[in-house]
Point group: D2
Chain length 293, copies 4
């Protein structure tokens, strides 16, 4: 049996590590990226360059890791591209909206190409280490086919249903919860500080008792130290994800009052120049509201 | 040197375990409670009964664990009681408001009785096991004196400052964060459910990745199973604590937009008959808003 | 038949005009105020000074116009005062909380003194002109007795029920709506300005079409001109009234999401030094959130 | 000089009255509508039918009154249509988003067709009576050209700037304020009712004092009578307009906390089946939150 060939689209900070791990695991990987730099780096690690997206869709399986709805739509939703594709499966690992997730599933079905959604939890360094948590949804038989690739890129795969958009919904919900944790910490540390308690003391107490784990520990220390650079996740992207949650809630008629508060806090942060700092910089909004400093 | 004598006020679900651990650790403990039942139980474990609160304040150290501001004010803020007290230190372990915490510190200073605030994290079973987290604040020399008692009741003492109200501020902030985590989970699981993801799947994913620890794990499973009884912490008490945070924010001019949302959600829950269920029943409000069911 | 005698308590900016109108209408008015200046002024207009509050309660009818719950409780809820009172009716025209309104009604009933609540709509100059709108509630026969006094002070009496607290609830609701109108204008003018529309143009359009009347016209022009001084109604008092609405909602389990937003906006304004400007200065919070200026 | 010819697109409940008034004022009007019924009615009143949209754009001036962004984009933003147009001016009277308003202005500029935005305030019966308030923006010389048409359709034209989107921003702000007034009334009447005050009494008081005018009077009586049918303005359209405000705020980084509350309340209403009732039915959400009934 010939080795499975994989076409990989999107070598951003996440995608490059993911593609490298596929190469490392023995897949025959062909890569494409809008800008050529990352392609060169991957080729040095053993990948083949693709002349264009059509080339990518000539592999057995396509994996894409693009930035957002717009990038997915403009690059991958070209009917000509899917029409001529040889690929039998496309695994879309981007964090996209539910409406787009549903349209993508329909579009691939029309062209008889298997389609899975598999967004991930984890930053660039986790992607590099092959330790991502992969949130996957789609038909079981496709999930089985994808499993060797997931195993190369992640530490665990979470199956969330047989319709691809379910994985996107879970990813959106997870990011929504992260944003809520950040705003909660922002409000609580502002309250503590105004009441004479050191934010760092509060965070140490919390993360050693009720709230262990990476989210509260990481964001808690960033907020208590007011250290928002370098950005682990840019605030403007966090706002995009909060808007995805609100959009999903709008579609399904699910009011999200915390989501509305988050939206306003992120807008306030962007209006004050913090778009490119870490999204935990939303804590500065809470401080400003309280007149701290 | 004669053994230190301890007067203990308030044998509710928390206080009885705490007092029992003091007895077990060899302190000479005298107890008082509004209703006699718990007194009898403690006496069987080796405590002495007190005829009245004045008797309690005849010990070296007084420990009190009352329900709320009202109970503290009506029982302990009697000038006659403090006037005649022999006790050199009162450790108030209740979750009370910042204004009352400040008044209590002043009142004890006027009567030259040492005063510490030491609210705790942990439920009745944790109190019974002597494994509480104790949030303590007040003058260092008093904290030293209290440490043997804290060691008997808790697994760790967190020192939060030299003014007692700082410990209360930290406790209020911690409970505020718990309430935020519950509402976040409520909104996220409603969104997930409406989008076709099983709440239990989302919770399992979250608590194994971003949000390990007792808060998300415990409340996550209660919410995804819609199991709000028996109440670990009654919703109406949770609402009281959210109001303490809002009151503290009001006093210090710290807006708490998540707090406002929480307040409304708890009121909605109470208006629908859930006052005595676990406070995670606030998730039913999120479901009702979305028309789920 | 001897002329009706009236004891009037509270000669602040509102009370002095109201008392003067009672004098002008021929009532025999005796006045009391914490500070003596306003008493002197009223005496020059024909009122008699009272040595103390007991003197005031020696008249047929007592009218009080105090600042808030605290002033009412500390001045009027002295059991000795009511015990020895000759007055058959007390008309409390202050804006007070619903719990206090209920307690006041009970307390007067115990002492067999009639009790009405009659808070007003209108500023100092309206009080002076005798053109207040009077929101009255209480037993019908007492309202009949009070009508001549109301006629002297107001342009119209609105009867809101047979229990005094109903008038307070209506007053609290009216002020809540004013605060909502201000915040609405604040958000809408910020949005307009950021989108290139002059706030003054928007306000002119609105107040000539959908929103005529004093609230939108007055606050609209203050906000579009950013002219918050002199204060028609101090922001910190507006915050107090919003808190009365939230407290009433808390008591009756009525969530008020707009109320929570208002509370935070007022706290933000106070944290930024605007406590003593007109409450329409809450519009500066909306501007700050948006980074305008 | 030949009479000015006008092409009119969109004969919905608003457009039919507006077109009829243009006919009545002597303009030579040609009409087009997706469904043929309204065309027939207008032709009976003296208009000429157009075979297609290209025919409409063969007139001197085009007036369009379509439902929303989608209708405007799908009908009017066809490059071929504008390419072949003889019209020198297009007056777009729809309530559309700011991004679309900007794109429309650019698109018409590219095709050298004048473009004005002129959304209106007023319902179908006001349109029929020719008494609309017209919110107009665009180059002065074009506004001059449009004035005779505006005079035929409206009672007053409000000029809001030289860039068309400014009129859309004003319209969005006005509708946002209406929605805020409705939610304010909803919360206040729920609070009043729970406190024992009849909503109708509160509304009568308010609309005779602080809040005269059509908005509070009309919505106040609908809410106090809980009479939401027939719909003057369907709730789902109101939600669309709130979303336009939030979208505009998102574009300009203007947080709108009242807007977030509105969004959630409308979603809650839609989730409970009230999409097609009048948008004042959002008051039922406030009642439900409070457990009234």
């Amino acid at each position: 049996m010939a080795a499975l060939t994989v076409g990989f689209v999107g070598l951003g900070s996440m995608g490059r590590g993911m593609a490298a791990n596929l190469v490392r695991s023995g897949f025959s990987v062909q890569v494409w990226n809008r800008s050529p730099g990352p392609v060169k780096a991957l080729v040095e690690q053993g990948a083949r360059p693709a002349a264009d997206l059509a080339g990518i869709f000539g592999n057995d399986i396509v994996v894409s890791m693009l930035a957002d709805d717009r990038a997915v739509e403009s690059n991958l939703h070209d009917p000509g591209l899917l029409e001529g594709a040889r690929a039998r499966l496309h695994i879309n690992m981007a964090t996209i909206s539910l409406p787009l997730a549903r349209r993508a599933a329909e579009l691939h079905a029309e062209h008889k190409i298997g389609y899975l959604a598999a967004p991930v939890l984890g930053r660039a360094e986790v992607a590099e280490a092959g330790k991502l948590n992969i949130l996957a949804a789609g038909p079981d038989e496709l999930l089985e086919q994808a499993e060797p690739l997931f195993a190369a890129m992640g530490q665990r795969t979470w199956r969330l249903g047989s319709e691809p958009h379910q994985a996107n919904a879970a990813k959106i919900s997870a990011n929504f919860l992260l944003a809520c944790a950040i705003e909660s910490l922002a409000e609580a540390t502002s309250l503590a500080e105004a009441s004479g308690v050191k934010p760092a003391d509060l965070v140490e107490l919390l993360t050693n008792t009720l709230f262990p784990g990476p989210a509260y520990t990481g964001y808690g220390s960033m907020i208590s130290e007011r250290r928002y650079e370098p950005a682990g996740f840019r605030l403007v992207l966090g706002m995009k994800d909060v808007n995805l949650a609100l959009e999903a809630g709008g579609e399904q008629h699910v009011p999200l009052p915390f989501g509305g508060v988050l939206r306003d806090a992120f807008l306030d942060a962007v209006a004050h120049g913090d778009a490119d700092r870490d999204w935990s910089a939303v804590a500065e909004v809470a401080r400003r509201r309280a007149g701290l400093d």
